[in-house]
Amino acid sequence: MIVLGIDGMDPVFLERHWNSLPNLNRLRQRGDFRRLATTIPPQSPVAWSTVSTGLDPGGHGIFDFIHRDPATRLPISSMAEVTAASTTLHIGPYLLPLSSGRVESLRAGRTFWQLLGDHGVPATVIRMPANFPPAECEQESLAGMGTPDLNGSFGTFTFFTNDPAERRTQISGGRIVRLHIESGSTVLHIHGPPNTLRADHATRDIAVQVHADPTAAAARFDMPEQQFVLRQGEWSDWQRADFRLIAGLKSVSGIFRIYLQQVHPYLRIYVSPVNVDPNDPALPLSTPKRFSRTLAAELGPFYTQGIAEETSAFRAGILSKPEFLVQSRKVLADSLRMFRYQLNRFSSGLLFYYFSSIDQNSHMLWGKYEADLLDIYRKVDGAVGEAMAQPNTELLILSDHGFAPFDRAVHLNTWLMQQGYLTLNNPSHMGDAEEFAHVNWEKTQAYALGLNGIYLNLYGRENGGVVSLADKQDLLDEISQKLLDFRDPVNGEHVIDKIYFADKVYRGRNLKNAPDIIVGFRRGYRASWQTALGAVPAAAIEDNTQAWIGDHCMAADEVPGVLLSNRKFQVGNPEMTDIAATILNEFGVPGTREMLGRMVF
């Protein structure tokens, strides 16, 4: 059985383009096609965790990309938690860990491939989102969305330039570094990981010498162990670098690519986030541990970062749309290369393979660049065709959600403030300061964080919370009603379709990190970037002016996913939870008692 997880594949888009997607179309005609009800909220980590475990978010405990720590109300990643070593030894500038630090997945529940493994069914699970660190088992798995780059972020690129027009230094998802060029030569300092073995956590850098020749519109890059030449507009191959933590003893290996955007008049060089080297992984990338090394030996280096498409650089205007497309096609090509390799060696059991490209490209192209997006769909359709060519194989294709335009960004915290639920220390402090920098918690009853969540400032849960448990339900009802009544001042339309209460919509009771109110935006609306990280800008709602024009973090009904198979479905309205149950059933493996889904065939 092959299961293809195609993030963000939209049913409506498919229906519009059946003719251009011959393989998917054939599958629909010979097998079956349904819309797949997505999770609440319809976000990838949430939905794919449900796919993995067969549990609803209340069961697996992941409700968003990010949630807050009730003690500090600061945003933290929902997918994995990194604990530093608790016991350390100081020797000079070094800090040697005596106990090992841990990287832990926050997802609860056993995954379907672990259950298959318990019953001796081999499975290969490639890049399942929210599977970092990979669930412990003997099965072959490669971590997916949620895998950080070597700096521990979800992807921090570096942009080097001497262009005086570029004045920014820090942007979302990247760093901008000023270059000083002397007779054509300069040095790029690429940051390695913060050195946790040093007391000051100074980052280890590697230096890449650049010799640009304006007349040739090309540059030579000198790395410690090799040299290469790039022409303007060319991407380099993967470059490997060792970041030495303690000279001669401990080093961390990373891989990155360099894009020579421009030589003249200004040198503009884009350096991708430093990915964990699959050949010598500094973080747990796969089960068994050597699997990533085997893959690297067979395929050469590949993207290991959870989300590899450079949307941040595109959003920041550093990469143009064509440049973004070139890069995202490189990611797809990388993915397809591994897909073919897995397909070739697949013989029995289960192969799960995940494609991120449609989702990432839809975010940047949705509704505006239909042809470009269709091109990506076509490539994925080609991969589907290759999977269909496997004999005697049951094929299941699913997406975790569909897509919708993202026209208007809602600053929920600003709205909460306007409604009197959130108070600032000083009203003049409104703006983009993140992490609730100026919020007066003594006078705040509710705050928003993440892409769909509102939390009460609850006594006994939040540190210094003010809402008593007795008032909780009344307050929730009151805010919900106001949210449902919230209209866009520009067109007078409802902004929010649905309101969900965690303790009502989920059957699972693992609600520690769940927001108190889950906001189901109407199509076209989404929580703003600022909201996600706890900022309070001036207006409650504004136009989305960014390159990120498509999204799905809305009411679940607005953005269903798809389910396709070469077999007929017996269930009319399949849901996310059904996937795990169906896979287990196909191999005759019993699920756990907590699992919710039904068999779709």
Partner: protein
């Protein structure tokens, strides 16, 4: 210098050709083993064997001393000090053979590097050809004439700060021959090898006669103005019992082992 190197090279080439039927590890193993024996012989001839034997006995004695007098910690420390002292003596005694061996071993290693340390350029993979000059390069880059098996896939990049010019070439088909540079009206050639290894892969070609000791694979350049020309070959690894290791590591392992195994037969104390 050129002549000397040519002779050494020819001998090695003939030797490697003898074992062309076998995987490269076989030839290398034989070279390493014979080098080990040769070095053993030199070691015996150039070291004071009697003193080495005496000093080594002292080393053992002071090791045993710590156990003989384990009831007296003060003596343990004294034995440690004595041990360090005799070790230094031992190292000093091995110094003369090391000095005698340094030059011949260096010559051998530099030559062997061309066979086992470098791989030919991979097809369809860009590689750099870099030329270094005394000054400049002012004005346009010198002209590089390439055989039809190659493409130049990027314009020559002039690195003014280092007086270098780099060309990016793309081998299309297996090739072993010369690249030709037109520099100041003189033609300078550089051998280049592309395809599958193992093969004799000449590294840098230099003008300085003195430096050509370290870069012996091609005769030194006679044209003025140019310092050296280098092709960026990928490094080769040797496959031994499925292990991919650098050739030098294997060389060291085999030569040491052969020396250790044969030292009794040669009557040498190491």
């Amino acid at each position: 210098m050129d002549l000397f190197h040519t002779v050494v090279n020819a001998v090695l080439r003939a030797f490697v050709a003898l074992f062309s039927w076998a995987p490269p590890s076989v030839g290398l193993t034989i070279i390493s083993a014979s080098a080990g024996m040769g070095m053993l012989w030199v070691f015996r001839r150039t070291s004071d064997q009697a003193r080495i034997r005496r000093v080594k006995k002292k080393v053992y004695a002071h090791l045993l001393e710590m156990r003989v007098y384990s009831d007296e910690p003060a003596l343990t420390w004294r034995a440690q000090r004595s041990l360090l002292k005799v070790n230094v003596q031992y190292l000093l005694l091995t110094l003369p053979p090391c000095l005698f061996l340094a030059v011949p071993v260096a010559v051998l290693l530099i030559h062997v590097e061309a066979f086992y340390g470098r791989a030919p350029l991979e097809l369809a993979r860009p590689a750099l050809v870099t030329a270094a000059f005394d000054s400049g390069p002012e004005g346009p880059a010198p002209e590089l004439t390439i055989p039809p098996q190659f493409d130049i896939s990027a314009p020559p990049v002039r690195v003014l700060s280092e007086h270098q010019v780099s060309w990016r070439v793309l081998p299309r088909a297996p090739f072993s021959g010369e690249l030709t540079f037109a520099i100041n009206g003189r033609k300078v050639t550089k051998r280049v090898v592309a395809g599958r290894g193992p093969a004799f892969v000449p590294g840098r070609r230099v003008r300085s006669v003195w430096a050509s000791f370290w870069y012996p694979d091609e005769p030194h350049i006679s044209a003025p103005g140019i310092e050296w020309i280098e092709v960026s070959y990928p490094g080769a690894v040797i496959s031994v019992f499925g292990w991919q290791i650098p050739w030098l590591a294997w060389f060291v392992i085999v030569s040491m082992l052969s020396a250790l195994l044969l030292k009794k037969r040669f009557g040498v104390t190491l």
